[in-house]
Amino acid sequence: MKNFLSLVLVLALGGMIILSLQNNQYFTAYGEVDITKRVSESYIDRDVNGGTQAVEFGVANNLESGPANIVTAIVADYRSFDTLGEVTVLFVSSLGVALLLASGKQKRLDLHFHPNFMLRVGSRALFGIILMTGIFVIVHGHLTPGGGFPGGTMIASSILLLYLADDNFRTKVKSFKTLESIAGSLYVIIGLVGLFAFDYFLVNFLDNGILGELFSAGIVPIVYALIGLKVGSEISGIIDNFLTEEVA
């Protein structure tokens, strides 16, 4: 009875919010959004700092912000501070999980599931393929959809595959920690270099190159690669914490 009552209450609230959004003349309905009235118009036309060059794929040279993928432009260039915060969130939660679960010496969780030889070898082959796709996604972050976060997670899922395929496999957690720390510090150092050399934190001080080229968009691919490595090692750290238990 209590469940039904709260369901009615909650759905009533949902209905009220929907009604109030519909009646609100400023809340543009689904689909009829006019980009020109929004901030993101200048992200598309790349004229935040008054860039006048028309944005032509393969033609435009040294635009204000290099990546062809506008979402990556926003994530890694226009609003790069959010991503720094973002990476810190993941860093803190992986550290928190390690603090909570991995206090002493750890050994693999005994799951009463012993994979046979075929699975162990097959997964080794598959590991290479998943790893390569992850790296591909990271490297082409500024051109095609994807980037640091999905690429890093793909690397982590390839390591997850090894965990599942072999029940006493453990990654070298210490080395992942150093990789994570180096990648993170490099990212912040790039930002600080931007601050001290070019007087804006996280500014894109390298040349942006031709729109759509592989080697274009200044520091964005570098930043995204660092993020990818960091996210990959953090998530594999989390996976390791979840799949191990205290040595009794």
Binding site: S6, L9, A12, L13, M16, L19, S20, N23
Partner: protein
């Protein structure tokens, strides 16, 4: 040319010094309080009387004093610093029994500084600053005595009082634009004036311990150490009287005028509450067994006299009220000091456990006798003059009910005031105290003697002080009292207090001669009862100090603590509300937050007609 700010700083630094010295030796620290309060009293009295207290400010930036034509503040200031000075004589003798002796002397001097600040300023914010300073410094003096709960009762009531005073201050500032007292009180008008009047009265009632807000007075005065009790009843209550004067006299009368007694409704209600205080105080005092609690209730009912007199706003009543403030301060401090001396020697103030102190402590007995004569209002002492003024004005205004209450109060004071005298001092000397007791040391007797001397002086030759009070009346804008050097002129006739005193003196001499000439009384052991023939069931039946007024008490026994239960009920309601809210909002399940988020969102969307 002592500057007021200099005195306040001396008091504060003196306090800190007393704390440091107190760390070395308790008694020296306490005697430092005597020196400092003495110096302050002398400078305030001397410079205050010839009006040359300067108000220049150098160190304390926010403070602004005003000393020139401020007779009201000066008169209160002199009185209260005098009481502080007199009571400080007792500090060295009592301080070694306290848990935190050096802290005691520090807070003693801090409250003295606070009192100084309150009376000599013309700025409301400064008045409130020192008012609150007195509240919290005297707060920590109370728990040194017997009861710990008394402190929270005291803080509760006086915080309620001072915060309503603060509210009134800000309401006045809205109309007057500045914190100045005089134009704040004069310029406030309309509905604000009623609000300000009520709030000032609440503050006065809370500080004076008058009827609705009186619960803390007996608890605090009864349970705190003796010097603190005397300072409270003599000095700190006068803050309430000061606020009452501001509220009733400086502020224009509030509410529609009642033709029958041509007095504003607001004043009339306060008069009724004052009368209730008198009656309630007297009734409660009659049934007390502890001498200190008894005197505490009597000072509560005297507070009622002051309130009633202040509401009548004619020359005899306001001068009577101000004079009664002086008299009550002197008499109750003397009484409390005497009881304190007895308490120090015997360790208890319960009337049923004491007796026959007169043999070993005759001077204390005489001091106590004079004090209660003045409190009861019997002619040669000051109490008679002030009560004469107050009764006259009440009858003249035609307020019969309140007059009856005041008469009941003074008759009642005969009843309960003489009981501690008989219980503590007269009667057979109790065996266990015979060897232990000796008279109080000289430095304890000195203030008591001074006080009783003043009690007599104010009764015999009041016109000196009444002359000064006339200046205060002039400042307050009330018609002055007709005084010649030896006579007071009331509404229907003059009073020659000196003549009455002389007649009483002659009477006393004659009585003394008869006592010497005729046969002495025979000393009788307590055990063999002297009643005629029949067997006495309980030996206390006729003992004057053990519930002698049992028949009267039985009349109102059942509903003694109506008010106490009322306040306890409030405290209980707050407690229940707290745990009720706690039950609703604080469970250890996460869904409670989401529930309230959904409910608040729903209400706000519905109510804010955002649909």
């Amino acid at each position: 040319m002592a500057s007021l700010e200099f005195l306040v700083i001396i008091a504060l630094l003196g306090g800190v010094l007393a704390y440091l010295v107190g760390k070395l030796s308790k008694v020296v620290g306490a005697s430092l309080t005597v020196l400092v309060s003495g110096f302050i009293f002398v400078s305030v009295a001397y410079f205050g009387l010839n009006g040359s207290l300067d108000a220049s400010i150098t160190y304390l930036p926010f403070v602004s004093f005003e000393a020139t034509d401020l007779y009201l503040g000066t008169s209160f200031g002199i009185l209260v610093t005098f009481i502080f000075f007199m009571v400080s004589f007792f500090n060295p003798y009592f301080v070694d029994k306290f848990k935190y002796p050096s802290l005691y002397s520090m807070f003693y001097l801090f409250s003295l500084a606070g009192v100084l600040g309150v009376f000599f300023t013309d700025d409301f914010l400064v008045l409130f600053f020192f008012f609150e300073l007195v509240v919290w410094t005297s707060l920590f003096l109370i728990p040194l005595g017997k009861s710990k709960k008394a402190a929270s009762w005291y803080y509760g009531f006086s915080a309620f009082g001072s915060f309503s005073l603060l509210f009134a201050i800000f309401v006045m500032r809205n109309t007057a634009g500045s914190f100045n007292i005089n134009d704040g009180l004069s310029m406030v008008g309309g509905s604000d004036q009623i609000l300000v009047f009520i709030l000032l009265m609440v503050a006065a009632f809370a500080k004076l311990g008058a009827f609705p807000l009186h619960i803390w007075l007996p608890k605090v005065l009864g349970n705190s150490p003796d010097p603190v009790t005397s300072v409270f009843s003599g000095g700190l209550e006068k803050l309430g009287a000061f606020v009452a004067v501001m509220g009733l006299v400086k502020l224009a009368p509030v509410g529609p005028v009642i033709e029958a007694i041509d007095m504003a409704l607001g004043q009339y209600l306060i008069a009724i509450l004052g009368a209730l205080t008198i009656v309630f105080g007297t009734l409660m005092a009659i049934r007390q067994d502890d001498a200190k609690k008894l005197i505490a209730y009597s000072s509560m009912s005297n507070g009622g006299y002051i309130l009633v007199a202040l509401t009548l706003l004619n020359d005899t009543s306001v001068s009577g009220a101000l004079y009664h403030v002086l008299i009550h301060a002197l008499a109750s401090t003397a009484a409390f000091l005497a009881i304190g001396a007895v308490n120090r020697q015997t360790g208890t103030t319960k009337m049923s456990e004491l007796g026959g102190m007169i043999h070993k402590m005759p001077v204390t007995y005489i001091v106590y006798l004079i004090a209660i004569i003045s409190m009861a209002g019997i002619p040669p002492m000051g109490g008679f003059v002030s009560k004469w003024l107050i009764f006259q004005s009440v009858i003249n205004e035609g307020m019969i009910l309140i007059a009856i209450a005041t008469f009941f109060g003074s008759i009642g004071s005969f009843l309960y005031v003489f009981r501690p005298l008989a219980a503590l001092f007269l009667g057979q000397e109790l065996p266990e105290f015979r060897k232990v007791i000796k008279e109080a040391p000289f430095f304890m007797l000195l203030p008591m003697i001074i006080l009783s001397g003043l009690n007599i002086f104010t009764g015999v030759h009041p016109s000196v002080i009444l002359q000064y009070i006339n200046n205060v009346l002039a400042e307050l804008g009330v018609t002055e009292l007709g005084i010649t050097t030896w006579t007071l002129s009331g509404n229907n006739g003059d009073l020659y207090p000196a003549l009455i005193a002389v007649v009483f003196g002659v009477g006393v001499v004659i009585a003394f001669i008869i006592f010497i000439v005729l046969k002495k009384s025979r000393k009788v052991d307590l055990m063999d009862t002297y009643t005629a023939g029949n067997f006495v069931y309980t030996e206390e039946l006729l003992h004057y100090s053990v519930d002698f007024y049992a028949p009267i008490e039985r009349l109102y026994e059942k509903h003694i603590n109506i008010m106490k239960d009322f306040y306890k009920g409030i405290a209980k309601k707050v407690q229940e509300f707290g745990s009720f809210v706690k039950y609703f909002f604080f469970t250890n399940k996460p869904e409670i937050t989401v529930l309230w988020v959904v409910i608040v969102l729903g209400i706000l969307l519905l109510w804010g007609d955002l649909l």
